[in-house]
Symmetry: C2
Subunit: 301 residues, 2 copies
Amino acid sequence: MELTVVGSVAIDNVQTPLEKRENILGGSATFASYAASFFTPVQMVGVVGEDWLPEHTKIFQEHNIDTEGIEIEKGGKTFRWSGKYLDNMNDRETLDTQLNVLGNFKPKLPESYCRTKYLFLGNGAPSTGLKAIDQVRDVELIVADTMDLWINIAREELDKLISRINGLVLNDSEAKQLTGEINTLTAGRKLLDRGLKFVVVKKGEHGAIFLSRDGLYVVPAFPTEKVIDPTGAGDSFAGAMFGYIVSQNGKLDEKTIKNALVYGTLIASFCVEGFSLESLQKVDIAAIESRLSQFRKVASF
Amino acid sequence: MELTVVGSVAIDNVQTPLEKRENILGGSATFASYAASFFTPVQMVGVVGEDWLPEHTKIFQEHNIDTEGIEIEKGGKTFRWSGKYLDNMNDRETLDTQLNVLGNFKPKLPESYCRTKYLFLGNGAPSTGLKAIDQVRDVELIVADTMDLWINIAREELDKLISRINGLVLNDSEAKQLTGEINTLTAGRKLLDRGLKFVVVKKGEHGAIFLSRDGLYVVPAFPTEKVIDPTGAGDSFAGAMFGYIVSQNGKLDEKTIKNALVYGTLIASFCVEGFSLESLQKVDIAAIESRLSQFRKVASF
């Protein structure tokens, strides 16, 4: 079953305390699509500029991702983000943002994508997500990932988006900010009250919490000492989680949700072990299953 | 098998955003002893003043705790701590500390305690812990809990203490501070290199990590919306964890450690649901086992 992913495609410059890398592939759709495609075929929707390289398209196509939805805007430049991770590797500063073609991004879903049953809206302007939702006719489950920027500058559109989706993925601090609650669970329940089927609160190195009307599940992060570049970890977690749910035909029973959270955690743990998609590109099903056994030993009881 | 617990006994004033409570029972030995005594008989060592109430002693005695080691210092006043929790219920400010009899605390273990096989040093001055260690003759496992205060003001004695114990329990930020590392696991491993059998890193609402030379286990916190007073949660976690290990004759195999972490987490989750020992006093084995089933459903996979 195909999952359609809409979000940003970026060229990043990333600086960590140990290393600096320029012109590497990034963006929410990039990480979420790649992560989801370990579990289910993906249809990717985004916009890039004329500086886009065929090699980039190839990376997706060779990993179960249909790229017909990646629009190359003539005369435009791809969205660029430059960021710097501080010593603790958790906090980061944005050094520069050049929206370029993303500034005016109106997602156009190829006709065949409009019948998708599953839609994932990677982190991006809520208005972009709304435009994508308007184009899908047979959708059964829409999940969106968001971030604090949109709570601060596009609150009204974000609220509208939340009213049209089924699952929301967001950070701990964002859930609290969005609801004015200090307790993560209370914040999550308040978000559920807006008509969502489920809310997933991401806590970075501390794992994640899944909340639905009749379910509550927590998963710790896979403990790792090898954190090379955290960029895309949240997108990868969300993409893999939803990709797994789609591979189970959108079921939301206990077993599917727990597996989805665990696979999301594992794919995110691979993601941070390299810049851009570098580490994920080396991962295969055997590596995922081997890490799953390790994780069971470490965290299941 | 008895566990001997040495630490502070306090009279606390606690203020939360919702409520203020005065003259309530507190201190590291209080919480750790009570928590451990759900699993194994405890011998408690501490000092109090003439303001100490027989009711307080009774609370311990009725819960499998031998109080022969609680010294009542004539003419003295019990250690008093006043603190205020901020809106997020995680950060707190100390409003007032009156060391009183704790200022000159030299733990004297009753003769029968000196043959203890298991010693827990609740958070307190490292010099106090060292004095207790000097008195035990047949000890097999010593575990100490510490906090940032001692890293800041008694580093040399803390280092000495670490060289004489087998297990160290401390907060995430303290592990990082003590080792200069930014990654929790790396910090834990560096502490292991000092000759410890194991290190347990507490992460509050995010759970805990257990590290030994051949084991790595993580446990999330039991998710709860009902946080009345976090005081003593860390002490309760550590006390229950070690109490369970003692109940299994000090075994440190995978199953025992995982159970110990899980029971520590559950007892801490009860602790925060009331002021002082109030919530823990209502807990029985059935309540613990029922919460264990809930926790398995929520967090095991």
